[in-house]
Structures are given as C-alpha cells and as structure tokens.
Amino acid sequence: MGNRLIELQNITKIYDGHKVLDDLNLYFNENKFLTLLGPSGCGKTTTLRILGGFETPDEGRVIFGGEDITSLPPNKRQLNTVFQKYALFTHMNIAENIAFGLKISGKSKAYIDDKIKYALKLVNLEGYEKRMPDSLSGGQQQRIAIARAIVNEPKILLLDEPLGALDLKLRQEMQYELIRMKNELGITFIYVTHDQEEALTMSDTIVVMNQGYIQQIGTPEDIYNEPTNAFVADFIGDSNIFPGTMLEDKVVDIFGIIFPCVDTGFGRNRPVDVVIRPEDVELGEPGCGTLDGVVSHLIFKGVHYEMEVTACGQEWLVQSTKMHPVGQKVSIRVDPFNIQIMNKPESEDEEAVVLDV
C-alpha cells in the first residue's frame, strides 16, 4: 500500500453526455514525480481539475490523507496548481503575486519577505520583486507561477503542461529545474503533459491515459520497454507495430516469417500485436538476417539515421548510426529479447488497468 497521499476512487466525469473519465482509480504517493501522459483530449486536465477542486466528479471520491475531500473547495485543499498559461495576477508585481497566498493565510510580514526571497532564489529570479508580470518572458512568468504556488508549502504541486508554451531549449532547461526543485522541496509533483519525451525525462512514475482510461502505470523504463498494449507502444516513442500470431511460447509469426522471442504464456496460435523499437532493428548484408528488404527512405536525424526498409510488403522503421543508402538491399534481424508481444486490445477504448504505483 505505501503511504497514499491522495487517491482518486471510481471517478467518472461526464461533459454534455460524453464520458470524459470513466471509473478512474489512481493514487499518488509522497515525494514522487508523477506524470499524467496522454494525447490531447484524453482527460488529463480534467483529472487535475478534480484533484485541485475546480471540478466535482459525477461519481467517485477524492481522498486526501484518509479524508474525503470530494466537495471541498480549492481554497481549503492542501495542494497548489501551476496553470498552463501561468495565470499570474497582472495588476500586482512579482512580490505581491508570490505573497498572495501567504497574505490570505495571515502570515507575518517578516515571514512573507523571507519566503519571497527564498522562492525567487529557488526559481533563479532573484531581484525581480518589483517587476510586473507583463514585463517577464514566458519562461520567467512560468517560474513565478511555480514560486507563487510553492511558497504555500503544499503537500502536492499540480502542474498542467507548464512548459507547453516554451521553446525547446528553454523547455529542456526547465525540465531539469523542475526536477531539482522537486528534490529540494521534497513534495509530490503531479505533472500533466502530452509530450512523451518530457514524461520519460522527468518522472518517477508515468500514468498513460487514453480516452478517459488509464492504459498503463509504471516507471519510464517499464513504459518504454514493456508497453502493455499497442496504444502505449505507439504513443511512447517511435515503434513498429505489426499484427502477428503467437504460434507457441517464444515463437511468433509476423507476415509468415518466424521470429524467436522471449514471451511466454500467450497460448497457441493466438493473434497478437508485435512491437519492435526502430533502434532494435539490426540491418546487415542481404541473406544474413531473418528476412531481406530494400531501403526506401533515409533521413539524417543528428544522432542517428532514420530509414524505412520495405520487407514483406511492410515498412520497417529503423534507426541506426550506420547509413544505408536508398535502394540498397539489406537483411533485417531482431534480437529475441527486443521483440515485445502484446495482447490485442478488446475494443477501441480498452479497459482501464489498475496497477500499484
């Protein structure tokens, strides 16, 4: 069980007759960096808004420290939110913005001044007290929004795509900043993003969502290396997803070609999805691998080359540091260990999986 800090129990949220969240169960532990990851419209913000108290679920309960807080208004909850578009108070300067929550809770002036200093130092914006929000860059405004939230010493910080509006370089810098802040503060961060790379970089645990259902919960390594279904595999990183048939334990048939693999327990002649990461496809001299094909596309990506190889009438996405020109005949080989076998989803929106975080 661990020490559950906040828990969502059987949460259902309906907007205009459309189930945005369907019987969602999820809990978050102390001092962790958790990420809700999923495509646009899958219900990430809605989940966060229910946690923050801006939305009441149609069914289910929110439990915080053992107490039901489902109908507690946001100002009574021990968590703070960093909104997607900063939401700073434009009529107040930076110091007043940061002091807002502290003044409401009636802290002394000396305490507040100390906290402002501390928070500005934490977000690397010392000396910005008197500036107005409008005069700050997007990244700086975002950091003030974080400072404004954390001075209240919440148990949980909710962040809704806080880096969405920043350029790539700044985003990467801020990712490290956020990890540093989380470690310094020792509180739980619940982070929402639709950027899988961001999720893999920052999280202790990733919750992959789609269409209001949880698809998989796990560490970044789990999610990347062992996606539980084709949706997760497709969403996290690039991948080749092929329909196949599990002939018996450790043997899978893809387009009539037999591949050895390491998965067991699927039964005999069972239709499955096969996931192979592009960096796991090994190219060689024709005839030296499991099957042969022809390179049909080639792109230089910086660290590696990305190629498409046509084999058995299928495009295989391949990433390699070794270049093979378009038109070259190559062989394809995949290490049995790198072939990931998954059950086919029963339907479009697959049942929620509830796992321990």
Partner: protein
C-alpha cells in the same frame, strides 16, 4: 506616406465638424456682443441661478452614476459567470432599449410616472400613498439611470468576461475565498471597465437637458437646461458658450481623472 494620406479625409472631417465648431464656442465664450474680449461669460457661472444648476447637475449625475454602478456591477458579474450570460442573450435584453429612440424612452417614463399616470393610478387603486415623483430630482435621476444604465453594464461586462478563468482559479487555489477573490482579483482587474462605464454615464448625465425637461417638468433647471435656454430662447449665445466652456472643464477634468486608471481595455463604445 501611403498610410498618412489615408488619414486626410478624417482630418478634414475633424477640422470641419469638431475643431472649427469648438473654436466658435471658444470665440463666443470669450467675447461680448460687440466682439470685445471678456471673461464675463465664464464668470456668469457664479450667479446664484447658474451655480445652483451646476451643482444640482453635478449632484444628480454623481448620484445616477453611483446607482448605475451599483446596479450594473453585480449584474455584469453574474452574467459573465453564468452560461445564460455568456450566450449574450441577457446582455442583449439590456441593450435592446438602446435601439429605441432616446426621446421616446424618456417620454414613456413621463407617462408612467406622471400624476394620474400608470404607476400613480396603480398605487391609488391599491390604496397606497400616491406615487408623486414626477417633476422632482428623483424622477430625473430615475430617467438618467434608465437611459444610461446600458453604458455602464456593457464595458464592465466586457472586461469581466475577458478575465482569464484560470486567474480566478489561481486565486482560489492559493486560498482565497470567493469574496476575497472578488475584491482582490476580479474588482481590480475590472477597473478599466468601471472607469469607462463611469465616464460614459457621468458625462451624458452632466450635460443632459432632455431628461430634466421631460421628467423635471421644466421646474428643475440643470446646467444643460440653462445652456439650452441661452441658445434657444435667444438670450445670449455668448453666455451660453461661456457656460459650455465651464462645463467642458468639468468634463475634461473627469476624463483626465479616469484616464489615469484606464489602460484603454475598457473602451468598447
């Protein structure tokens, strides 16, 4: 160059219909019948009758602006927060009277408020004390509020409904109650709308002579009536212009005061 030449027709318009008339007023205001320079027309405001009218105008305008604000702010607040309000229908209802002729609307109130008018008869029928506010300052304030209320609602509604919902959420998130959120966040952010609403109600109230003529029964003179009489009853264009200039000072004063707070966002009309 191209841009500049485009503005010439407007400059011409401004010169012909704004600058030149204004200069005429200034000329009349600062001269006597013989054309000699004088400050007497300005000083005419100091006569008992005129200054009484000016102070009454200022007082009633102030009162009706305050009433408009008290009525409009909660309404704008509620409308911007409700589904019904956001659809614009209720706002439309409040603006609808503006499509009717201003004179007609005011005349309708004469019929309603008059002795033996609709309301008075109704009161009599129910055995209540007679409803006699026609020809009193109260009736004039009534008319001003009715006529100018939309000008207060619109800019305030506009500004409030443009406030980012997440800014309000952020305040709640940081521990503010809904009332604290209202006076620490929503009200300060809506000030530009409030200021332009005040300007747009106060100025026409200060200069009106139609409302006071119709609902004051000609017995209550506002500064607008005094100026009107100077011009229309042929008393003296010079005194009328002089009084206009004095009134202008008050209007410019109120606009300067408001532009201090207004960053331009609230100007919708």
């Amino acid at each position: 160059m191209y841009r500049k030449s485009l503005s010439y027709p407007y400059l011409l318009w401004a010169a012909a219909f704004i600058i030149i008339p204004l200069l005429f007023i200034v000329y009349y205001g600062l001269t006597d019948r013989t054309g000699a320079f004088t400050l007497e027309n300005l000083a005419a405001i100091a006569t008992a009758e005129h200054s009484k009218a000016l102070f009454l105008s200022l007082g009633l305008s102030f009162l009706s602006t305050a009433i408009c604000l008290l009525l409009a702010y909660p309404l704008a607040l509620i409308l911007s927060g409700s589904r019904l309000g956001r659809s614009g229908f209720v706002i439309f209802l409040f603006i609808l009277p503006m499509w009717m002729n201003f004179l007609l609307r005011t005349l309708a109130w004469v019929v309603l408020l008059d002795t033996n008018g609709v309301l008075d008869s109704l009161f009599k029928l129910m055995g209540l004390p007679r409803f006699k506010i026609i020809n009193t300052p109260a009736a004039i304030v009534f008319g001003m509020v009715y006529d100018f209320l939309p000008f207060m609602i619109l800019p305030i509604y506009n500004v409030i409904s443009k406030i980012d919902k997440n800014v309000v959420n952020a305040a709640r998130d940081l521990g503010a109650s809904s009332f604290q959120t209202l006076y620490k966040i929503i009200f300060p952010l809506s000030l530009p709308g409030v200021i332009s609403g005040i300007t747009m109600v106060f100025i026409p109230s200060l200069t009106t002579f139609v409302i006071s003529t119709l609902l004051g029964g000609g017995k209550i003179l506002l500064i607008g009536n005094v100026i009107e009489q100077e011009f229309m009853k042929g008393t003296s264009w010079h005194v009328g212009s002089g009084l206009s200039l004095v009134l202008m000072l008050f209007i410019i004063g109120s606009m300067v005061l408001s532009s201090k707070y207004d960053n331009g966002e609230g100007n919708v009309l």
